[in-house]
């Protein structure tokens, strides 16, 4: 008697779960799936076995099917958004785990949300820009530029929160040069190369400005800062060269 009641309850829950399938799939196979689950329950009951294990397995297995069918129904754009959101979530796990393990790492919730938005925004920018062009050099250039811009912006925010020196705002100016340049270039490869060269040059100028004006902070060795800036300049220049290569291949 108890097994019959449990069976009825599981079947009611299963029917509810099946409604999570896309409507056309549910209309076509929902009844058959319910019937099959009913048959499996009856088989178990007749063998004198409990239903909990079966229900758990079938519910998980069906849930996987629901995710698969709903993903198949998504447009390419929805799939891209979902992928980027999941990758951003994966990346966010790094600071979340680190905040649990590293002493003194006490980010407020807002910082995690902001970080997620940054990861997601950067990922979407890459996905939307890179998918316009098929050439690997264009995709690599977009990836380099965005990764470089992201790391530079992040490092600047961290540095500013520690030193509160407004002269570091000049680095956001470098990012603005890149953003405005990309806008003016309309993402066309040859012009994007020039935008990247401009960004590299702006960063070199920013380095000089910060070295001249940043007298109130205990500066590390100049060569160390120079090497770091040089690395970013080389990265943006490399992105420019890759855009140039894409343009020479006759791509816009």
């Amino acid at each position: 008697m108890a097994a019959k009641v449990a069976g009825r309850r599981y079947r009611a829950w299963y029917a509810m779960l099946l409604r999570r399938y896309p409507r056309p799939f549910h209309e076509r196979f929902g009844e058959g799936m319910e019937q099959t689950f009913h048959d499996l329950c009856r088989e178990r009951r007749d063998a004198g076995q409990g239903l909990f294990g079966l229900a758990l397995w079938v519910f998980f297995e069906t849930l996987a099917g629901i995710v698969r069918e709903n993903t198949n129904q998504m447009s390419q754009m929805q799939k891209t958004v979902l992928r980027v959101a999941l990758v951003a979530l994966g990346l966010l796990m790094v600071p979340i785990v680190a905040s649990r393990l590293v002493p003194g790492w006490n980010w407020p919730v807002g910082a995690f949300v902001f970080t997620y938005v940054l990861f997601f925004g950067t990922g979407m920018a890459y996905a939307l820009i890179a998918r316009k062009m098929g050439a690997w050099s264009y995709k690599a250039a977009v990836g380099l530029a965005l990764a470089g811009g992201f790391v530079m912006g992040w490092a600047t925010m961290v540095h500013m929160s520690e030193t509160e020196n407004p002269v570091n705002l000049v680095y956001f100016g470098v990012l603005a040069v890149g953003a405005v340049g990309a806008g003016l270039a309309r993402l066309e490869a040859r012009r994007m190369a020039w935008a990247m060269y401009a960004m590299a040059a702006a960063l070199a100028v920013a380095f000089v400005i910060t070295q001249v004006l940043a007298t109130d902070t205990p500066a590390g060795p100049v060569w160390s800062a120079g090497a770091m800036h040089g690395g970013f300049v080389a990265l943006f220049a490399a992105a420019g060269l890759l855009f140039r290569r894409a343009s020479l291949a006759g791509l816009k």
Binding site: G32, D39, L40, G65, R68
Partner: protein, 115 residues
């Protein structure tokens, strides 16, 4: 120049098992599930999510079709939808088995030479 015909892609294990289960006649969902279990000596246990998801894709590919809705004489109660192989499905199954035979022949040849 004659266009070279593309080789059919290997079938997924679920699709192959369903085709095999239907190769001897029409079956409903639960019947397919039980036949797959029997064919694989209990090694393959297919849930409703995998079964009906695969059937949906196989119907789109023209490998199987719904035949009718009727009561299973061995199971009493409700009317069930039965599925059957199409000629395309049977051809796909034969092609897949041929591919498997080729793989097995190569593997046996290699193993016979110890290597």
């Amino acid at each position: 120049m004659a266009k070279k015909e593309a080789a059919p892609a290997p079938l997924t294990p679920a699709v192959l098992h369903i085709l095999l289960a239907l190769s001897t006649g029409e079956r409903h969902g639960y019947g397919i599930m039980k036949q797959v279990e029997a064919d694989s000596q209990g090694k393959v246990r297919m849930g409703p999510g995998t079964l009906y998801g695969s059937i949906g894709r196989m119907m789109e590919a023209g490998l199987v079709r719904e035949c009718d809705k009727r009561v299973d004489p061995e199971m009493d109660d409700a009317r069930r939808i039965y599925y059957e192989l199409t000629s395309v499905g049977r051809a796909a199954l034969e092609a897949e088995l041929k591919r498997y035979r080729g793989v097995v022949a190569v593997a046996e040849g290699r193993l016979a030479y110890g290597g």
